[in-house]
Structures are given as C-alpha cells and as structure tokens.
C-alpha cells in the first residue's frame, strides 16, 4: 500500500491564482488610495524600505541607510536594479519619485506622510540624502508605504500617469488586465532578489462574494484568497481542504463620536459609552472572534500597544456608566443615531451589537444605515453623532495617531481638540530615542482612553485562505501580499 499511496513526484505549478474581493482602482502608486490597488503594487513596485513579516523595517531598494540626526536621512541604493523597461534604477529616480509625491498637482495621498521633507539631494548615482524641515520619527515607516514607490520618470511622461501601466522594479510585471475579471502578472526575470519570485505567473481574480472566494479556494480554482469576513473564516478553519492564515491586522475598528455635538461633547457621556461597550462580545458577534481587542494603538504593533483592559475604561462597568450618565444629566438615557454602512468598513454588524449593548445603560441608539457613498459623504461633512468606522492603523504610532487625533490632523473627523493630546503627539513625533517615545505613547494611550474621543474596539484579523499546496506564503499583518513572491504551488 505504501508504494501505491506515494504521491506522484510533486510538481511545481507555474501559476499562482489569488482571489480578491475588490478590483484594483488604478495602478499609479503615487495616486491610488484604494487598498485593493496596494495589493497589486506590492508585487509591481519597490520602495526604499519595506516591512518584513515581523513588521520590522528592512532594506528594499535601499541597501542601507544612515540617520545622522533627526532631520537627515541618507539612503544607499542597490546596484543593478532594473525597471521593467530595462533601464537601471538610479538616485535620480528616487528624487523624481519623492518630488512627484510631494507635488500638490499630483494630489498624492502619500504627500502627508512625508510632507516634512524639505530637500532631496542626489549625492551620487546610488546615494540619496533627505533633509527634513521638522523631525518626523515615523519617516522610515512612511517610506514603506506603497504610495512612496519608486517609479521611472519616462514612464510617467509617456503615459501622463501610471494608472493603467506598471513600470516598476518589482518581482512581477503587468501582462494583462481585464477589469473586474482578472489581472495577470508575469515574473520579472531581472528581479534583484536572487531566486525570487518563485511562481512564474500570478493571476488576480475579482470575486466580490467572500463566500465565493472561499468556495474558490476549496474547489481549487484559487490558490490563495484574502477574506475579511469572519463568518467565512470561521467556517474555513474547520475545513481540512484549506489552510487558514490569520493574525490581527493593522486596522482598528472604532466607535467614534462627534466631540462637539451634544451630548457627546460631554466627556462623561463618552466615558459612559466606553464603559458600556464589551469588546469581546462585539468580536464574537460581529467578527466571529476573528480579531483582538485593542486600544488606541493596534494591538499587533507589539512594541507600542497596550492591551485595552490595562487602560482606563477598558472593562465594562454598567453601574459606573449609568452614574456618569446621571452626572451628565441623563439619568434616563437619551437617543441618538449611529451612522454605519453595510460594507465591511461600514461596520453594520458592529453597529448592531453596539446598539444592543447600549441598551444596558439606557441609551437608545438608532442605526442610520447608509450606502457607502453616503457614508463617506457624511464622514467628510462630519454629519454624524456617532459612527462606526474602520481606521487604517499603522505599526508606527505617530503615523496613525497624529493625523487622526491631533487637532490639526488631516483625518480628525471627531472634531476632537485637546491640548494635552496635541502636546503629547507633537512630542512623540520629534523623539528618536525608542524608550522616550515609548513612554510618550504609553501616556497618549492612557489619555485617549480616558478622554474617549472615540472608543477603540478591536483589530480585525487579516486572513488569507490558501490551498494546502501553497508553500512559502507569510503574512505581514498590514494586508500586504509581498510574500506572494516567496509562494509557490506544489502539487
């Protein structure tokens, strides 16, 4: 029997098929905002530095770098890196790319990450020096962003922008793109990392139904799929035909208040709500347990994050919450709206659980479920009392918290203005010493939990479902598919 059961010599399949639920929205790394586009850019372009599967900043196009002071960064580039068009990458390309990001006319979302860069100097063909106008502790982390990929000038000039073409240095090259159907990438034979990529071809397929994605992996139509939906993952976990990879991601589910709107301008009211929300129940019901409770810094950013039960108001306490409400003048509660949407980001399920939990302290929440476009409209116009959101976090506390909660933060839609918080965030931004920074951000987490301008609920897991034949894939934790480069199907 032993002989008979022996598998025929395992064979490597040249193609790896990836299922995703959303189509990429353009491919210009400096312009795109959509998460779905980033996942393709992971494979098409490189940045100066990247994150590894432990969320550590490691070399990418830059072989090494020096930080002589907190205003100066010097990068030494790899030699012999070639763009897909065959030209070698030099320091000029880095300068051009960073300048393009910084140019307001490009309207790049990456601009805000690196806006303190005041000078970019080409030292030699393989050396670039960046000078900052103000210290930015999160600069290295910012440079790992897909939005700050290095692109060739001539490709931009030839096409106007890079939305429909891809001329990167990445492990794969764009071969065919049939919108809302498939995108085919082929191996870059000149890729600079020896032995990579492993598969000759990658095909992305767009399958909007998460259940269908899972079915696709099961039936062998797909080799790997990214699935957000907890219910589907829960089922996949009990399925021997597939392998589920799951770890808390960088995103944070939050319940946010409009801090200037009655009654949530009253800190006691916000605190009461915070005390009434049971993170583990929300996780169970809205995510099927596929996530981890978190405080202001995503729990997976292990270096910085403090678990919410160690922070103020981290444990449910209805009595105290009711007391706070009574103090604030609402002994009998009140009613208000929660804006949410039925997309995953819109957090409809979370809103329903929140609504249910707030009944415990006598608050009546009405769900204002709106279509996604409306949701964003409301968000932009700050037309909400409370809202369920999914915030894109970061392993770098400054990058996430400053723009969200500093009174001048670009995405501080909570209308939160607090001098103490502002001061702390500004301090953290300048500090380069890790221990000092840690202390600052510990304090930040405490203050934010106490003042509750929003309630940080949990970080949903990032999940990949693969067929058992896929080898070599690793999750980073921020959704990136970089490690697809290391993956291959062996049947």
């Amino acid at each position: 029997a032993g002989v008979a059961e022996q598998a025929p010599t395992a064979q490597k399949s040249p193609t790896l098929t990836i299922g995703v639920s959303q189509e990429a929205v353009g491919l210009d790394p400096h312009i795109v905002t959509a998460f779905s586009s980033m996942r393709r850019l992971d494979l098409l372009y490189n940045r100066l530095v990247r994150l590894d599967d432990n969320m550590q900043v490691v070399p990418d196009l830059a072989e090494s770098w020096e930080i002589p002071n907190n205003l100066t960064y010097i990068f030494h580039l790899r030699k012999g890196v070639k763009f897909h068009n065959g030209r070698e990458l030099t320091a000029d390309d880095v300068k051009y790319s960073l300048e393009r990001v910084l140019d307001p006319a490009t309207a790049s979302p990456g601009r805000s990450y690196i806006s303190t860069i005041s000078k970019i100097e080409v030292v030699d063909a393989y050396t670039v020096k960046l000078t900052l106008s103000a210290p930015l502790a999160s600069l290295l982390d910012a440079l790992t962003s897909n939005n700050i990929s290095i692109v060739p000038k001539e490709a931009v000039q030839a096409n106007g922008n890079l939305q429909r073409v891809a001329v990167g240095t990445g492990p794969y090259m764009l071969q065919e793109w049939v919108v809302d159907n498939s995108m085919t990438l082929v191996k870059n034979p000149n890729y600079f990392e020896a032995g990579l990529p492993k598969s000759d071809q990658i095909i992305f397929r767009v399958i909007p139904e998460e259940a269908s994605l899972y079915a696709g992996v099961r039936s062998g139509n797909l080799d790997l799929a990214t699935i957000n939906d907890g219910a589907t993952i829960r089922q996949a976990k009990s399925d021997k035909n597939v392998v589920v990879m799951s770890k808390p991601g960088m995103n944070v589910r939050v319940f946010s208040f409009n801090n200037q709107k009655k009654p949530f301008d009253d800190i006691r009211v916000r605190q009461a709500v915070a005390l009434a929300l049971d993170r583990s129940e929300i996780l169970t019901m809205a995510e099927y347990g596929m996530g981890a409770a978190t405080g202001p810094i995503p729990i997976s950013a292990k270096v910085w994050a403090i678990s919410p039960d160690k922070l103020p108001l981290g444990k449910t306490d209805y009595a105290k919450a009711k007391q706070l409400l009574a103090d604030a003048g609402y002994p009998n509660g009140f009613s208000f709206d929660i804006v949410c949407s039925s997309t995953y980001e819109g957090g409809l399920a979370v809103a329903q659980v929140v609504q249910n939990q707030l009944k415990n302290i006598g608050l009546t929440a009405n769900l204002d479920v709106v279509e996604w476009g409306n949701y964003i409209d409301r968000w932009v116009k700050r037309d909400f009392a409370t809202m369920v959101e999914l915030r894109g976090g970061s392993s770098e506390p400054d990058r996430f918290l400053y723009r969200s909660l500093h009174s001048t933060g670009g995405v501080n839609n909570f209308m939160y203005k607090d001098a103490e918080t502002d001061a702390l965030l500004e301090l953290g931004r300048e500090q380069t010493d890790p221990a000092q920074r840690k202390a600052t951000y510990d304090k930040v987490q405490e203050v934010l939990s106490e003042k509750a301008p929003l309630v940080f609920l949990y970080s949903p897991n990032e999940n990949q479902v693969t067929s058992p034949y896929v080898e070599g894939f690793k999750q980073i934790g921020n959704g990136s598919l970089y490690y697809v480069t290391h993956a291959q199907v062996i049947k």
Partner: protein
C-alpha cells in the same frame, strides 16, 4: 355570482389561503412573538433549529430568533408591497387612462415618458432611486412604485383603448355624456378586471424587488428585519448555517407564490376567453 367563482377556483383559493396565513402571522406579530426579534445573545449565535431551545427556525449570527424576525418582517413586506403597488397603480393608471382616452399627442407624450422609464432595467432604476433618496423604508416604496408606473400605464392604456371601441361608449356620447363622465362611469369600472390581475402580480414582484434591493444592501435597514436583509446577512453564514437563508427565503417564496396563485386564478376567473360565454 362572483364569490362562488373565486371559491371554486382552486388556484386562487390556494393563493388566498396562503396570503391570509401571512396576514394572520403579521397581525399576531403585532401582539406576540416567540422571542424579541432584536435582542442579541452572544451565547446563542447560529443555533440550529430545535424544539428544545424554542428557536424553531434557529438563530442568526447575533443569536436572534429567526422565526420571530420572519414574523416581524411580514408586516414590513406587506406594507412595502401594498404601498408600492398602490403608488405605482394610482399614478400609472392615471397616466395610462388619460393617454389611452385622449389619444393623439397626449398619448404620445405620456407614453414616451413611460417608455423612457421602461427602458431602464427595473432593478437598476430602483437602485438609482434608492441611491438618490437614501435608504429608508419609505424610499423603498417610492423606488418600487416608480418602477411600477410604466407597467400600470401600459396595461390601463391598452385596456382603455380596447374599451373605447365599444359601442356603449358611443352610446354614452350620443346621450350627451362628457369626457369625464364617460371616464368615471364607463371606462374605469370596466378596466378593473385586468388591473386586479396586474395588482396581485405587482404585489408579488414588489416583495421580490424589495428583497433584491435589501440583498444588495439598499432596502429595509437592520436591525429591523425584512426578509431580504435577513437573506443578505445570511449570505456570509449560509454555507455552515443554511437555516439562516432557507427560512427567510421560504417566507418570500410562499407569500410571493400566494400572490401569484391569486393573480393567476383571478386571471382565469376574469378572462372571458377561458370561460364559457353566454
């Protein structure tokens, strides 16, 4: 004469019985439900249907009782389908009757408007309207109602044009009856038969349309249960908890079937072709 005909038509009666069962269910649901349809129970998530727990149709992903939610959803479905049909019928019939009666230019203009509405696929049109107006139950009514307008306009126009050729209309004219008089006394009463059939069929499609809209996340919004949004949220879990999709689906199928049976039966009864004349 009328009632016994209806009673003797098996198909219509089957439909009527089904509909009445639902009406009963929706009335009962106003006063009594097995469980609170909105109450969540973390410890009872996705339980199988069972007598022991009392959740006859099982529970959903928030541990809510599915039977109670279906029952609660009945009134929503009724309200939406009845008011949307009423809206579409009133406006559509008004347009169609005048177009058919006046003929000529007025007919041309009215029917071109209906044609333009018609050349939008119904679901797409409904989606549009929902997107513009926002997701509220009354907007669902509006969206479906607007979709219905051209249908009613066409049918009533056709019926009026067919009637116009009858000699009794000429007779009334020759007796000095004016336009409005003829419309009210002779035309409208005589187009009720095709309209009744259309109405009962519209009631059924309204339920399907509402559920399709809800399925796309545009219909009745949670936590209020509607059969469509129950199915929509069941989509994620139905592979391992099929009851979450099966029962709301059946609820839709049976009520729609009820209206369709009634409509088909009424058509038999009211269609003179299938009757022995004279």
């Amino acid at each position: 004469m009328k009632t016994p005909r209806l009673l003797r038509n098996k198909i219509a009666m089957a439909g009527l019985v089904l509909i009445l069962l639902y009406v009963l269910m929706s009335v009962v649901s106003l006063f009594w439900l097995p469980f609170d349809p909105l109450a969540m129970h973390a410890e009872q998530i996705l339980q199988q249907p069972s007598f022991a727990t009392g959740h006859l149709f099982g529970t959903d992903e928030f541990g809510r009782d599915i039977l109670s939610r279906i029952m609660k959803g009945t009134s929503v479905s009724f309200i939406i389908s009845v008011s949307a049909t009423a809206l579409g019928a009133v406006i559509g019939i008004f347009m169609g009757v005048w177009a058919g009666y006046l003929g000529g230019k007025a007919d041309n203009v009215i029917m071109r408007i209906a044609d333009i509405l018609f050349s939008f696929p119904s679901l797409l049109l409904a989606i549009f309207i929902m997107a513009v107006l926002g997701e509220h139950t009354y907007n669902v009514v509006l969206a479906i109602g607007i979709v219905y307008i051209p249908q009613f306009a066409r049918i009533s126009r056709g019926a009026i044009i067919a009637l116009k050729g009858n000699e009794f209309i000429r007779a009334a004219k020759s007796n000095g009856a004016g336009r409005n008089y003829i419309l009210a006394h002779h035309l409208l009463p005589n187009i009720t038969a095709p309209l009744i059939v259309q109405i009962s069929l519209s009631l059924s499609t309204a339920i399907l349309l509402e559920s399709a809209l809800s399925f796309l996340g545009l219909g009745v919004q949670p936590p209020n249960p509607s059969w469509g949004n129950m199915l929509s949220s069941a989509r994620k879990v139905m592979m391992f908890a099929p009851w979450t999709a099966v029962y709301p689906g059946l609820a839709i199928v049976l009520l729609v079937l009820g209206f369709n049976l009634l409509g088909d039966g009424l058509r038999d009864i009211l269609d003179p072709r299938l009757r022995n004349v004279r």
